[in-house]
């Protein structure tokens, strides 16, 4: 029976329904940056993905290379994006600014997802992209599983008393100091980071003598293009390194786990933890 209370409830319901903007999940999303490519592939429905950037296909750089192989590829060129006519474009912090401005001027919605320096940033980016795609729950699930794995590792390494010294040593003597993903990952996995203790901040250079004096037990590398040769890479074969690590080979943790902050950081941390044995 149409009472006044019923009528008021109907009006209220209608009002609520009408006042909430219709935020339907975008149906065509293009990504022009490797890091957003990977998040897109992890969080979106297949039907939502309009295009990923070319780097997403490269197995050395992209964690999601296989998954990316089915989708149209873009080179971050305006004409390609016009053809795709996406509802949403995901760009990275280092995507060319003029490109982003131009796309916005042409009326496209461009969301910039910045680079991450730590795991908190990874979580924030996952949430942001998941929200943009209309799949917030998926984002939370991804974060939860990542957190679980990280906590498991942290728990195990907390139980051991010794924290051995390690170092990321890259071609040309580059290393990851304080406030880098590698630093945090080493810490969770139960290592001490020689670079951080040698006052290297961010990504910087460490001298061979400093390295030797610090006596790291394990060297890690995440070098791009293994198997090729250059003077930069030859440094990694300096005989002194072998001696100081008592013959323990340099462990390579692929480039693709670090280049973009993403849930694959858990894989990297697990690998680092395993190296302690």
């Amino acid at each position: 029976m149409l009472t006044l209370r019923n009528f008021a409830a109907c009006v209220l319901l209608l009002a609520i329904l009408l006042s909430t903007p219709v935020s339907a999940a975008p149906t065509r999303v293009a990504s022009i940056n490797l890091c957003t490519d990977q998040l897109l592939l992890l969080l979106a429905d297949p039907g939502q993905i309009a295009s990923v950037s070319r780097l997403a296909l490269e197995p050395e750089s992209s964690f999601m290379a296989e998954a990316a192989s089915g989708y149209p590829v873009n080179d971050a060129k305006v004409e390609q994006l016009l053809n795709l006519d996406p509802e949403l474009i995901l760009a990275g912090g280092f995507s060319p600014r003029p490109l982003v401005r131009l796309l916005r001027k042409l009326g496209y919605r461009v969301e910039v997802v910045g680079a991450t320096e730590d795991i908190a940033g990874i979580r924030a980016n996952i949430r942001k992209v998941a929200g943009l795609l209309g799949h917030a729950p998926r984002g939370e699930a991804l974060i939860a599983s990542m957190n679980a794995r990280l906590q498991a590792v942290a728990g195990r390494s907390a139980s051991t008393s010794r924290r051995p010294i390690a170092l990321f040593y890259q071609p040309r003597g580059y290393t990851s100091g304080r406030d880098t993903l590698q630093d945090q990952a080493l810490s969770i996995a139960g290592w001490r980071n020689l670079a951080a203790e040698s006052a290297v901040s961010g990504y910087g250079h460490i001298g061979l003598e400093q390295l030797l004096a610090g006596q790291p037990e394990q060297l890690f590398t995440s070098a791009y293009a293994p198997g090729t040769r250059s003077l930069a890479q030859r440094l990694l074969q300096h005989p002194a390194l072998r001696r100081i690590t008592a013959g323990r080979p340099v462990i390579n943790i692929d480039y693709r786990y670090w280049i973009c902050g993403g849930p694959m950081i858990a894989d990297a941390v697990e690998a680092l933890a395993q190296a302690r044995h």
Partner: protein, 330 residues
């Protein structure tokens, strides 16, 4: 008599060289108890300090010594042979040719240890011969410089091209290392790569002093005095290729030492080429060691290559020479 004075000078330079060598071992990012490190290195188990001494500082000092001596000696030899005070391994293409050969071997070769110096040696010989052919036998300064510029530009262009095409993504930025030269982060292995060719080259150059002195009088007169000119030329070219080729394949093309050192020695012992050979070797080693020490005294974090220092000092000196060289051209 200049003879006795020269011998005294050699002793003094040798002393200076030894001092710089030892000093070089003291310099690094950490203070090192040198005596303790030396003692430890003789023991069974290498300690950290002995490792730093034998694997980091010692190779660096040795390479600076041998590469510097090579460049000085070959500069003096080339100046004597070409009768031109502007000749030097850098100018006549020996260095950049060596770099080209080494680059080819390192980035595209199969990686066996002898390939790299071999590439350097062959590249050096090829480039030197090319400059010699272009400039001709009686080349004046201008012709020699032009021929050298041509060959050096060609070598640099090919090196840049090769590095761009190389499979390694780090290769492109290494042009600087090859064309300016650097002796940081080298190992005893690198020293053993440099050594054979260098010693062979030096051996060949020893004993050419007399013939170079005779050449002061011109090719014909030298011939009449018993100098076998063609043989002398080949001997010096091959010696320079062996020594400079091996050195550059390890350190890159360090410039200006071969040019500057003989000129620094001339006011002290006169102009006879034979006299200048051993002194230029000593002077070259001293100069490169000094440059390397000064590079390491710069604040940590700056990564200046030793070739930058030699260029900063050498290039103005070279300009000064070009202007002054008119004075004694025949």
């Amino acid at each position: 008599m200049p003879e006795q004075r020269g011998r005294w000078l050699e002793g003094l330079l040798a002393l200076l060289l030894a001092t710089l060598f030892i000093t070089s071992l003291f310099i690094g990012s950490n203070p090192l108890p040198l005596w303790q490190a030396a003692v430890d290195s003789l023991g069974q188990d290498p300690t950290v300090i002995s490792l730093i001494l034998t694997e980091v500082r010692l190779p660096r000092a040795l390479i600076a010594l041998f590469a510097g001596a090579t460049l000085g000696l070959c500069g003096a030899a080339m100046q004597g042979l070409l009768r031109n005070p502007l000749a030097s391994p850098g100018l006549v293409g020996s260095s950049s040719g060596a770099a080209l050969g080494a680059v080819l071997m390192i980035y595209f070769g199969s990686g066996s240890w002898f390939q790299v110096p071999l590439g350097g040696i062959l590249g050096s010989l090829g480039a030197t011969l090319l400059v010699y052919l272009l400039a001709g036998r009686q080349a004046g300064s201008v012709t020699l410089i032009l021929a050298g510029v041509a060959v050096n530009s060609l070598a640099l262009a090919v090196i840049s091209l090769l590095l761009n095409l190389a499979p390694s993504p780090y290769a492109v930025q290494e042009v600087v290392l090859w064309m300016l030269g650097s002796i940081s982060d080298l190992s005893l292995q690198d020293f053993s790569i440099l050594l054979p060719g260098t010693l062979l080259g030096w051996l060949l150059l020893v004993g050419t002093g007399r013939s170079l002195d005779a050449l002061t009088l011109g090719e014909e007169t030298a011939r009449s005095m018993g100098v076998e000119l063609t043989r002398l030329r080949w001997r010096i070219f091959i010696a320079v290729a062996l020594a400079v080729g091996s050195a550059v394949s390890v350190t890159g093309s360090i410039g200006f030492i071969g040019l500057v050192v003989p000129h620094l020695m001339r006011p002290l012992v006169g102009f006879l080429p034979g006299r200048l050979l051993p002194l230029s070797a000593l002077g070259g080693a001293i100069l490169l060691l000094a440059a390397d020490i000064s590079v390491r005294l710069l604040p940590a974090g700056t990564d200046v290559k030793v070739g930058v220092i030699t260029a900063l000092v050498g290039a103005p000196f070279f300009l000064y020479l070009v202007i002054r060289s008119r004075r004694w051209q025949p």
